[in-house]
Symmetry: C2
Amino acid sequence: MREFHPPRRILLGPGPSDADPRVLTALSAQLIGHLDPEFLKVMDDIQTSLRSVFQTQNRLTIPISGTGSAGMEAAFVNLIEPGDTVAVCVNGVFGERMADIVTRCGGVLLRIDAEWGQSFDPGAIRKALKVLKTVPAKILAVVHAETSTGVLTPLSMIREVLSDFPDTLLLVDCVTSLGGHAVGIDAHRVDFAYSGTQKCLSCPPGLSPITVSPRAVEALRKRKEKVRSWYLDLSMVEKYWGDDRTYHHTAPISMNYALREALRLIEEEGLEKRWDRHRRNHLAFVAGIEAMGLEMLVKSENRLWSLNTVRIPEGVSDAKVRASLLQEFGIEIGGGLGPLKGKIWRVGLMGYSSHRNNVLLFLNALEQILCREGFRLKSGGAVDSAEKAYGACC
Amino acid sequence: MREFHPPRRILLGPGPSDADPRVLTALSAQLIGHLDPEFLKVMDDIQTSLRSVFQTQNRLTIPISGTGSAGMEAAFVNLIEPGDTVAVCVNGVFGERMADIVTRCGGVLLRIDAEWGQSFDPGAIRKALKVLKTVPAKILAVVHAETSTGVLTPLSMIREVLSDFPDTLLLVDCVTSLGGHAVGIDAHRVDFAYSGTQKCLSCPPGLSPITVSPRAVEALRKRKEKVRSWYLDLSMVEKYWGDDRTYHHTAPISMNYALREALRLIEEEGLEKRWDRHRRNHLAFVAGIEAMGLEMLVKSENRLWSLNTVRIPEGVSDAKVRASLLQEFGIEIGGGLGPLKGKIWRVGLMGYSSHRNNVLLFLNALEQILCREGFRLKSGGAVDSAEKAYGACC
């Protein structure tokens, strides 16, 4: 084997996003032990800073030692006991994944479907939950930012629906929103949320930040049987991250160094400024896309700023365009999944990757490729339109 | 938060071991996507090289996206269906953990205990397995290298016992042996083995290499119900690592860069030379320890080379000695766990940390501290005795 040198890339896919060079430097620091007093301080810093990004006071706010999907599994495997009813809102791949995990955990699944590319009608959720006459659903699970479609589901709407179901816990997937959109865990009284490091936090993949409300912690304590997963059992994991510092499993040291640095960068930028950066780059992106005569999949009020889905125009080869972007420009974007395969492109503008230069480079590259492929563009002014959205004057 | 600068350490605990600087450099390389053609090549390299370290031809040989305990859980959660009988050999913390996981997976546990600090009597294992009259145990699980005690259990002995139980799958924990001892997966017909990256592979913690025999893969295919864990379900994970390249979860990119470089270092050193280095440093360590008048916990034929357990002499404070080692010398070692708490020190000589200089530095430091604490040493010649074991002439 030769030494590996990764090719030059701009990561505008559904994640990972580009990591800030400072995060990569932090990754490469010398190892110390997972029970070293200095590492315990790193863990404290991470917990404090994660609370701020999640906008919560929840004591139990930690990174799970796995990627975002491990965080999803941690949520369900800890909260569900066999026979519990769990309502899952499904409007994309990650809602489907939740539904799959519920049944693996022995839960009784109540599916609430919406079309891929759309959000949910509050009336439909309320109606579905009302089907349960005697015992309400233990959990309502929803994906805040559906990475497979680019749809944002407003948590204020979900909380409003749940005012009729006060005993139901609210479980939220924030994988593609945390750090790019406000998540307002406490404001929306979310009981369990999980995310991933490789999206708007711009840290390499490998950890899944979670936060658990006191009410959900209480539900965990009341469990009658052991959590089916040893690795993700929060009753033990929290003892390592809490005051006890009891060894559970060896924490991924380097990844925690990286997460700490990524959180430090967010602290420096400021959360609200960061959300606004994501919003502005998204709006400029849309302006450029529409100037070309292309269409966004999602209607404007439900669009994620972090993950933009563009309809592939008729007659244009998905694979060819993505290969050209990668090979000629070093730009990675994602294709569609499931029913949207071949129908959309997924363009992530997350964390470090959410930058004016990337928006302009991408729009230019796409315009060049589509033009060469013979697609008749509405205008050649994608970059100009984006620049106008940024407020540029010439 | 300030920038984090880890303190200077020599990691001689039960893991993580020190990472080779080349591995840390690999960690900090720029990210590429988990479906990037260049990353798929990294995955191929890792699989090929892991097969060589595991000494196997098993096609399904991959790193799981979690630490060693995630590998342990992957083994059981994939192989067990509710009601299956699983025999677990328990002689330390990691055998206990296996037993715990078996019941969480719905397995029926058959415990085979041995004293902590000792290996197993083959007759006792045979006798225990014979208790099952009609259906043999589906799995016999054993810890090759028990990190909590420093005991090596010979896999040749286990395979010999299993000659009477041809239908029982052999599951082996190689967390603290892989890369430091021969594991001989194919030679001993091991059906499922898992390890961790942060021990003798000297890569940061965060991945768990596993290998699965064709016979065990067949058992996975015959499952009647879905694997209880979505994250660790090998029927899906293997499609990402195999020819399909189907997206499952986002692989921890940077950790895979690091693992590839750690495996490249092993390739360069040569497996047998590497085992021999671990053996020589272990023997010199023991020579030094015994010269001081201290005792090893484990009898010589069952001692791990990678993890050395030393009895704490009467009247000596465990905590004080470990604190002095850390604060004055920057040396981390581990304390005892469970019934061995306060009774032993665990000194890891793994991977990059298994080095003559570390053996000599540690022996000198321990001698200084014990002398200051008033412990009457047999001789002051720990370093000299170790040097003699290395064949030094003066």
